[in-house]
Amino acid sequence: MLGPYVDAYLISWVVFLPLASGLLLLVANSVAGFLLRSNGLPKVVWQVIAMSSTSLTFVASLFGLWGRFDPEETGYQLVERVAWLPDYGIHYFVGVDGISLVLVLLTSFLMPVVLLASWNEIDRWSRSYLFFMLALETAMLGTFVSLNLFQFYVLWEVMMIPMLFIIGIWGGPRRIYAATKFFLFTVSGSLLMLVALVIVYRMNFEQGGALNFDLVRFVGHAPVPGVPLLDTVIPATTESGAPWWQTQLWLFGAFALAFGIKVPMVPFHTWLPDAHVEAPTGGSVILAGVLLKMGAYGFLRFALPLFPDAALAWAPWMTGLALVGIVYGSLVAMVQRDVKKLVAYSSIAHLGFVMLGVFALNLQGVTGAVLQMVNHGLATGALFVLVGFIYARRRTREIADFGGLARPMPVFAALLGFVVMASIGLPGLGGFVGEFLILLGSFGADPWAAVIATTGVVLAAAYMLWMYRRVVFGPLDKPENRGLIDLDLRERVAVGLLALPIVWIGVNPSPLLRRIEPSVSILLQEMELRRSHDEIPSAFEARSQELP
């Protein structure tokens, strides 16, 4: 009966299912209390509702989106477009291409796993916690599938609110500081992006284009029924007489600030360790697994295709920042005493790799970056989950408080070892493929960048293995650690679920690459086509020739 509606609005179903069940959670307690004349239902009922709805979302995105996505066809698929504020060219406009598809899948996969992993963690206001998680999922999925700049901006900002509360209410001792800092950093950074958006919108209109916020009408990409492709006249000069490519530099800067804070790129990274350390496990996993990908995704989906000249001009700077992130993040991770903080800084380094790949601006680099986003989400998510497990047992995350955990907790030690390997990028696991592609692409763009980045690989191995050695091996000299209980079935399943795709991507990355690559190649072609300024600095000639 619902068939046609599900078919036509597949993406919307996936996106809004979590929010709908979240709202159900909010009202259900009073309804149930009224019907059963009881004081509300036990927590487990809400958990089951949330688990089943997130699992359903994953199944729907797996069979509905992944299953129906045609890798042969380039461009956006499963597109929906409904007028929202039509006078301003604002539509509810969603669709997926290879890049967003894998990130949607990552998001919908992580969510049920996270809920499973943090099943017993939340003991206060658990219904609200689940609501915030579900609302967060809707906002994240919506951000990944947005094809309208305005809609993207709205969801991008809305996403921060549940996260603010998740960190601030259920976080650690310094949660208020961390939550506020996270929110202020990320939300403030985006405001300039809003101004840039509006300026692009106005400029396009002044040059004879339509009043429009739809991405495809700015940058081309796939045909969408009823939407003229590239009806915009990209201005040769702006009103003030400056060439369009010079204006781009500023606009790109505004976007780069918003996205760079979210990635985070190095000067703007300080919110991340605080947020990660103070967040509850669920928050940390989602933060590292999905939210950090938003920045890189924003570059790929919006900043690069909208401002191709500026992207090329900024590329060396962004590459430089990425390299700083890799080296700095790794070095700082090495001296951390708190496991969670170590993982947080390792995230900065890994995201540095992703940005390196993005700004290699060639097929291997960008494809590798997208793949690495998925890998990082899985591996770092698993690391945070495992850290959460020992924190629940010992109420500490200091490396010095552990040692010799292999004896009381062999399964934990094995799984941590596996995840550490995945995070380092051991061949045969997902991380290797992504890092390899990124280094390949980066070498093509600038060999020196690749050389410096390689030190990051070495350093990653160093700090991860060193941490592993100090936590798992060595003498079991702390009496508190002797009686530790190994992971139970729920915990094993949670980590096991995360391990599966890590192995799968490592062994057989082609299903993912087959979907990512065509989208990346279209993106690069469009950038090349829409470049308005031929005299880019000569250092980038090599790069632009490589475009397929």
Binding site: A83, W84, L85, P86, D87, Y88, Y153, V154, L155, W156, E157, V158, I161, L164, F165, G168, I169, R175, I176, A179, T180, F183, L184, V187, S188, L191, L192, L194, V195, V198, I199, Y201, R202
Partner: protein
């Protein structure tokens, strides 16, 4: 234009509230005579009687306001257009004035509902309150349709005088007295400045009506320009634009919260509407100079309002500075001065009404035991005690901050688009930059409400009239966040189009 026959239908909104004011005044006298006659009535009985009278008066004034709003909406839908006055047009009834009348009526109505339980809680349940409120509303109705400096001044004074009294309505509280006195003295100075400006304008142009001024103004000249500046300054005082904002924090904090809510939304609406009409009619080719002047006022208001709000520990004071900041945002629209910008300004005022009334309603819902609970610490841990109240408060604050997903964002968005269109990039950057600052203080309340432990333990309940107001405001904010320009329920009304029609008063 010729003086027309006195059109009673046109004045219906004004008539309803004016009559309502008199009726509530008389009603109070009659009812309290019946309740308090005779010796030996014990205080308990008196209190109950007073509460009953309060409810009756609130209903009477609600009825008057609803009738006035109904009349205004009816006139708006008819596209009513008429001007009248002795000899030359004094009042202009058109889409703008009817729109503003309905808006002010809504603000007044919600303020009346806020007062029903708040006045008894503060033990200031006197009947004059409603009469004063209605009189002030009547003044604003005059103000928004004024097309002559004389009627503008009359409207302004009729608006202000009752509010001076209302600000000091909590006689026993020193701060309330201070607020009233301060507001009165500074308001008197502002009125004098305004009058002086009017005199200069009249001297320079030989006219007091706006269109006449525009003809006489053609040559410009120092006299006219200084008159113009003084008139703008006088009006800027009413809408608390920097540097004429100094009264705002003290009055907002000292006045009873229901009065604060009332003047925060209605006076601001009326002031901005009359300023808009004055600028458009009296200065059709608004020169660079005026635009720069308004831009400077806007920039200062945004900067000072937002920066000062950060350091406040009292919620009402913080909201006062936030009101200054919002006046600055609105002035950005004035500096832009395009029809699109006027639409954005009117829509902003419309949205601003809901979020401001909502925020003050939460403060009111906390008041009890004859005292206000309005310091930031008083909100600590509210979410565990009264989760729904904390949730709507968060919504209102996020809307004031302009976070997407709330109507406040849409309002800001339209302003930004209009300002970018008019080339006011610098102002837009200030708007955005100061908005970042504003997150800091708007976020403080949700943070203490959700993330800190409860310190005090007031177990007050949200009264049903407050629930109605809160629900209405919250629903409006969520609705207009997504459907500012859409009509999902087939009512045939799209909010932005309505604002656009109202802004289109120059055709």
């Amino acid at each position: 234009m010729e003086a027309e026959a006195f059109d009673v239908a046109a004045l219906a909104p004004l008539g309803f509230v004016a009559i309502g004011a008199l009726v509530t005044l008389m009603l109070e006298v009659v009812l309290s005579r019946r309740a308090f006659v005779g010796e030996g009535v014990d205080p308990e009985t008196r209190l109950v009687a007073r509460a009953r009278i309060g409810i009756v008066l609130a209903f009477a004034s609600s009825a008057a306001i609803v009738l006035a709003m109904y009349a205004a909406i009816y006139q708006f839908e008819l596209g009513f257009e008429t001007a009248f006055g002795p000899g030359r047009p004094m009042l202009q009834l058109d889409a703008l004035s009817t729109f503003a009348t309905a808006l002010i009526g809504l603000g007044a109505l919600l303020s009346v509902w806020l007062s029903i339980t708040y006045l008894p809680a503060l033990r200031i349940n006197h009947g004059e309150y409603y009469a004063l409120l209605l009189l002030s509303t009547a003044g604003m109705f005059v103000l928004v349709s004024a097309v002559d400096l004389i009627s503008l001044y009359l409207g302004l004074e009729l608006t202000s005088l009752p509010i001076y009294a209302l600000a000091g309505f909590n006689r026993r509280r020193l701060r309330s007295n201070e607020a009233a006195l301060k507001y009165f003295l500074m308001g008197a100075v502002a009125s004098a400045v305004l009058l002086y400006g009017m005199a200069l304008l009249y001297g320079a142009t030989g006219h007091t009506d706006f269109t006449g001024i525009s003809q006489g103004f053609a040559g410009g000249g120092g006299l006219a320009l200084s008159g113009l500046a003084l008139v703008i300054a006088g009006l800027a005082f009413k809408v608390s634009v920097v540097p004429f904002h100094q009264w705002t924090p003290d009055v907002y904090e000292g006045a009873p919260t229901s009065v604060t809510a009332f003047m925060a939304v209605t006076v601001k609406t009326a002031g901005f509407v009359v300023l808009m009409r004055f600028l458009v009619l009296a200065l059709p080719e608004m020169g660079e100079k005026v635009s720069v002047l308004l831009g400077v006022l806007a920039g200062l208001s945004m900067l000072i309002g937002n920066l000062m709000a950060v350091v406040q520990d009292n919620v009402k004071r913080m909201l006062a500075y936030s009101a200054v900041a919002h006046a600055g945002y609105l002035m950005v629209g004035f500096a832009a001065g395009t029809p699109e910008a006027w639409t954005a300004v009117l829509f902003y005022l419309f949205v601003y009404l809901f979020m401001t009334v909502g925020v003050f309603c939460v403060v009111i819902a906390l008041a009890q035991g004859g005292r206000e609970w309005d310091s930031i610490e008083d909100f600590a841990g509210l979410a565990s005690q009264r989760p729904a109240l904390a949730a709507v408060m968060t919504l209102f604050l996020l809307s004031l901050a302009g976070i997407p997903g709330t109507a406040g964002f849409m309002a800001k968005f339209y302003l930004v688009v209009a300002a970018v269109d008019a080339g006011q990039i610098a102002l837009v950057l200030i708007l955005v930059g100061t908005s970042m600052v504003s997150f800091f203080y708007y976020l403080r309340l949700p943070v203490v409400m959700y993330m800190q432990k409860r310190r005090q333990d007031p177990d007050a309940e949200t009264s049903s009239s407050e629930i109605v107001v809160l629900a209405l405001c919250a629903a409006a904010i969520l609705y207009f966040a997504f459907f500012a320009q859409a009509d999902p329920f087939g009512t045939g009304v799209r909010a932005l189009d309505v604002a656009g029609r109202a802004a289109d008063f120059l055709h």
